[in-house]
Symmetry: C2
Subunit: 349 residues, 2 copies
Amino acid sequence: MIKPVWLDGDKVIFVDQLRLPVEESLVECRDYQSVATAIKTMVVRGAPAIGISAAYGLYLASKEAAELSKDHDDFRRFMDEAADHLAKSRPTAVNLFWAIKRMLAKYEEVASQDFATIVSVLQKEALDIAAEDEKMNYSIGEFGHDLILPGSGVLTHCNAGALATGGYGTALGVIRAAYEKNKDIHVFVDETRPFLQGARLTAWELKQDNIPFTLITDNMAGYFMKQGRIQAVVVGADRIAANGDVANKIGTYSVAILAKEHGIPFYVAAPVSTLDLSIASGDEIVIEERDAAEVTSWAGIPTAPEGTQAAHPAFDVTPNRYITAIVTDRGVIHPPYQTGLQRIVKEDA
Amino acid sequence: MIKPVWLDGDKVIFVDQLRLPVEESLVECRDYQSVATAIKTMVVRGAPAIGISAAYGLYLASKEAAELSKDHDDFRRFMDEAADHLAKSRPTAVNLFWAIKRMLAKYEEVASQDFATIVSVLQKEALDIAAEDEKMNYSIGEFGHDLILPGSGVLTHCNAGALATGGYGTALGVIRAAYEKNKDIHVFVDETRPFLQGARLTAWELKQDNIPFTLITDNMAGYFMKQGRIQAVVVGADRIAANGDVANKIGTYSVAILAKEHGIPFYVAAPVSTLDLSIASGDEIVIEERDAAEVTSWAGIPTAPEGTQAAHPAFDVTPNRYITAIVTDRGVIHPPYQTGLQRIVKEDA
């Protein structure tokens, strides 16, 4: 079973996603700062996996706080600093903030107890977050696989797979579930420039699971849609606004337009924790601008002339009107999203 | 002045476009076989530049035929073989076949004359083809620059520049002409996977000419259109059917759909020699399938797991309904293309 991150005693272990698929190596972190660095440098990526990583990071922070704090005030200062530091590692993933908030809320519940208790409660909370995420993805797969008809070509963008989550995946959860139901599907994998999460990670996952796929460059999606080779698109989400606008990896918006033009359904698969009903629409989502060097070079080799100015928005926002349905761990939401998303979040209460 | 290929005595010299922008090196060819190899391996690419290269190749063939032939039958056999060999180097570029046909027609005119005369006439014909192409591009620029409004963001895909032609460029001819008219434009350059002609070649050309530009990955085009940063798209063409359907670098079709969705005009710039009125529509255009290894690795480094199946259609066809206008060296053609293209070709007679 593929996992991007797990706890091994007092270490957080990451599959180094920067080295896949050429090398399958691990990164060990013993403090929250190195967990934040792993998030920032994209050793780990994918909104749910980032949330889980931050939760583990706060558990490591609590261990360190327990060792270094003179009193409960010290402990709290330490936890606040760690939460701030981790929150700054990536700006777009709502799960990051969600996981930090949940860990801090749990901390509040036990903040006056002895240090060992706090540490043990936070460890359990982080492990719960990871386990719940994996379970949610199985639910997403269970709700979503009916949307994929037998014999379909299914396009996915970026990696919303096991490596992006607590396991199994969101978009790849739907695809895995459809495949497991003998739906005889074929996956088209957008390579997803500039970071090539599709080529490096999604292709790697599908290969591990023997699910048939074809890797394509991002600019081939329209061609294969026109050829009638693609019957559905399934992508993940980094953040979903109250009106159903979806922030996801750069290029998702273009794929959604291509799908609409070809009359192909466009599905978003994400756990309820990805919903951010505090923002009315995608217009409020701040898009992370990453280093342009990630566009002008690859594996250290320049792809463009020296000094080339490049842009690197890491995400884009797909307006709700392009989205056929949103598959969550609590069911499939159809338009209008405003009401459907509100309803599903309230079920939480 | 940037040129992709020229004649230096009895050698054909290519700028090695595989090594740009990291290295500015030349490839020398002394026989038609190595010219065909240069075309096939994409040392030279771009429909007009391929045509010019093939013409030079046939000139080299005539020199070799003159040395080795016992009689005029021998000479003819040699020329036919060379033409066949060169015609097989790339399947999609109509200019390749057009240039070969024109060289063979010129050869027919003088086939019974002495060998030295044949060689000299074919040399002149090849040089004429190159010079005419460059001149056509200045005409394309002259007709096309009015389509670009002052202050525009202009998106281009692949390289339809000086390096793809006899000089100046088709799509980049329009962009250069607009820039020269002080139109204060900013170019968005699609990097154009998998071969990165945009990042490697278009960025290099624009840098040489100090035209302001931003390099983006192909999947960012929709994002920048939505941001209101792009007011026009200009691309080249490898082949244009009688109804105005356009074969061009893979990804062009997707850009055309994105432009339509955002209400942005989509222009195709190409000389009349790119028109192929013998085919009724783009459906008849055979799309070259290139080596999938060009998708699964870059600069020799794998981007995907070993054994990954990938697709590599090198071109796609953009249906005429997405095209706002076709800019030729004889004027701008607006829909309906059927009549407009017929008329402009007849002016030839």
